[in-house]
């Protein structure tokens, strides 16, 4: 090993490098998933700079061209470059994932926090209300909502958030309940600190990691769910660029022109995989039995 006594604290010191290497070796899948996800994220952010063509540019002359040097992933039935559309689609999917989860957490976490902290009647009332939403089959609620509000990506996101928040309420509630009896909560109570402060300053920071882990694992599912909704026609509508929509539009053609469905589908697969690896890895890293903690 390199001499660890010198250069102990710099950013690229030998100590830092050793710790980083150790982390990578013991969390290979996490690192793989995180790298993949990071690449997708960068691609989404810098989409305009990366793509060779305007993703919406219609060009009937080049329609349904097989993958080639000019069009890495081929073109669709309107002559649009699929590679460019896939990259732009990353934006949509990532935004969808973040928005749905943010909405679900913003609703679910406070409900779970209050239910777990107060217990008793408040817990019963809140949990029974959330159970109502749990009772809906996962696809039925979005269908019902978009039927009422009209089909669009935004409505689909709202619908998904509504179906999803009960899980966060439950997870939050159970982790708050396990922290609730810790002495530092009692100590804060004996100091006369208000319940709101105790919930947000003491209970929440010590019980939010399971929700975080769940969120990172759900990210993939939200992308899949949004793609599925678009596929059945109640999510994104043309001219939106969304992977599920792309697969839907290629439905009649993909048997002869495989690339119209394969590449968007592959994009969904890779993204969901990356996000799941990150989620699994996070769960292991944050596992208290492994000495983890955020």
């Amino acid at each position: 090993m390199t001499d660890l006594s010198l250069n102990q604290s710099g950013l690229f010191s030998a100590r830092r490098r050793a710790i980083t290497w150790h982390f990578i070796i013991h969390n290979k899948l996490f690192v793989l998933g995180a790298s993949l996800f990071f690449t997708i994220l960068l691609a989404a952010i810098f989409a305009p700079a990366i793509v060779p063509y305007d993703p919406s540019a219609i060009n009937f002359r080049d329609k349904l061209v097989a993958p080639s040097l000019a069009h890495l992933m081929g073109t669709d039935d309107l002559g649009r470059d699929i590679f460019s559309r896939v990259v732009y689609g990353a934006r949509t999917s990532l935004i969808v994932g973040c928005t749905v989860l943010a909405l679900a957490m913003m609703v679910g976490v406070p409900i779970g926090l209050a239910a777990g902290y107060f217990g008793g009647k408040i817990d019963q009332v809140l949990m029974r209300l959330t159970d109502i939403f749990l009772a809906f089959p996962p696809m039925l609620l979005p269908i019902a909502i978009t039927a009422a509000l009209g089909a669009s990506l935004i409505n689909a996101m709202i619908a998904l958030a509504i179906s999803w928040f009960p899980w966060y309420a439950r997870i939050m509630r159970s982790s708050v309940m396990s922290v609730r009896n810790d002495l530092f909560i009692s100590a804060a109570q004996t100091m006369g600190i208000s319940n709101m402060k105790i919930m947000f300053r003491h209970a929440l920071p010590n019980s939010w990691t399971p929700s975080l882990v769940q969120g990172s694992m759900d990210f993939g599912y939200t992308i899949l769910a949004a793609a599925s909704l678009s596929f059945i026609g109640i999510g994104a509508k043309p001219p939106a660029i969304e992977w599920g929509l792309m697969v839907a539009l290629s439905r009649s053609k993909f048997l002869d022109y495989w690339w119209t469905a394969a590449f968007p589908g592959l994009a969904i697969f890779v993204t969901v995989l990356a996000v799941n690896l990150v989620g699994d890895g996070l769960r292991d890293i944050l596992d208290p039995k492994r000495g983890g903690g955020l």
Binding site: L4, R15, A18, I19, H22
Partner: protein, 332 residues
């Protein structure tokens, strides 16, 4: 008298990313029949590690060296994890601190003891059942017939600890290692369990290693005592000698920190903290906290015998303390 179990030069260390944490350093310990040996130390002294290593309960991340001599065979301490099965349960039994987690909540008390007996002894089912009830009676549990079918959650902490002792006894061990068996119990229950252990030791001539941080427990129930500090034994000997006439500065200070009724105006405390076990120890481990420290303490002290089995590891022992009259008392 030959020792029943002999630990020689035991070292337990845990290699980590940047350093190695050495929990036990070169420890020698002998256990004799019919005697309770107290292994006393504060947290971080290595006492629980010693017992775990002797029973082969340390996991793979540790490096263990040294030998264990048991029943005319010598085993390398590093092999204890595999060889341990032959010793554990059959010749050497161990009981732990927390009675509430010691038993499986899904099985009845009788069933659990039965399973242990079945593993190690070849008897018929009926014979084993009888034996189980006998063991329950030996530990003074009332109504063994009824207790056989009870579940752990129906028993109190003290009762569970007795069940655990019964479970340890059913395999007729020669050695019993008790790791803080009464720390989690009330003082009246603790007294009962300690009296029970004493009674069983005398009746069955067991060799008992009692690990504790409570010096009063040691004074009340042990025959021999070994005081541990930072992974080594710093003083050991007959309990009447070590507790009444301690020779090592740490032992002296430790005894002075125990609040006792009738001795209540000043309580001493030991300045500083236990040394970092991740760094190699230079010389005496206690030197940074010791009033008697000199240049000599930078060398490593070895275990030296004062008299009659009373040993210490120090360059500046308080030898005036040794009372020669004690020798006559202990001989009686």
């Amino acid at each position: 008298m030959k020792p029943i179990l002999s630990i020689k030069d035991l070292t337990v260390s845990f290699p980590k990313l940047f350093n190695t944490i050495t929990a036990v350093r070169g420890l020698d310990l002998d256990l004799y029949a019919g005697q309770i040996t107290g292994l006393v130390g504060e947290s971080g002294s290595g006492k629980s590690m010693t017992a775990a290593a002797a029973m082969g309960l340390i996991t793979n991340q540790a490096e263990v060296t040294g030998n264990i001599h048991w029943q005319d065979k010598t085993w390398a301490a590093a092999d204890m994890a595999k060889a341990g099965r032959q010793i554990r349960g059959a010749g050497c039994a161990m009981i732990f601190q927390n009675p509430l987690t010691a038993l499986n909540p899904f099985f009845s008390v009788g069933q659990q003891i039965f399973d242990v007996a079945r593993q190690h002894r070849s008897m018929t089912t009926i014979e084993i059942e009888k034996e189980v009830k006998q063991c329950l009676a030996q530990v003074h549990l009332p109504q063994p017939e009824k207790l056989y079918t009870k579940y752990p959650h129906e028993l109190s902490g003290g009762q569970i600890q007795r069940v655990v002792i019964a479970m340890a006894l059913i395999c007729q061990p020669r050695v019993l290692i008790a790791d803080e068996p009464t720390t989690a119990l009330d003082v009246t229950v603790q007294s009962q369990i300690l009296a029970l252990v004493r009674e069983l030791t005398d009746e069955k001539q067991l060799s008992v290693l009692l690990i504790t941080h409570d010096l009063s427990v040691v004074a009340t129930v042990c025959d021999q005592v070994s005081v541990m500090y930072a992974g080594q034994i710093v003083e050991q000997g007959d309990v009447r000698q070590v507790i009444k006439f301690p020779v090592h500065p740490y032992t002296q200070k430790l005894l002075a920190t125990v609040p006792e009724i009738g001795n209540s105006t000043i309580l001493e405390h030991i300045p500083g903290q236990v040394p970092d076990l991740g760094k190699p120890v230079v010389g005496c481990a206690f030197k940074d906290r010791c009033e008697k420290r000199t240049e000599r303490c930078l060398q490593t002290p070895t275990l030296v015998e004062a008299e009659m089995g009373h040993q210490y590891r120090c360059f500046h022992p308080e030898l005036d303390n040794l009372n020669h009259n004690v020798r006559e008392e202990t001989m009686v």
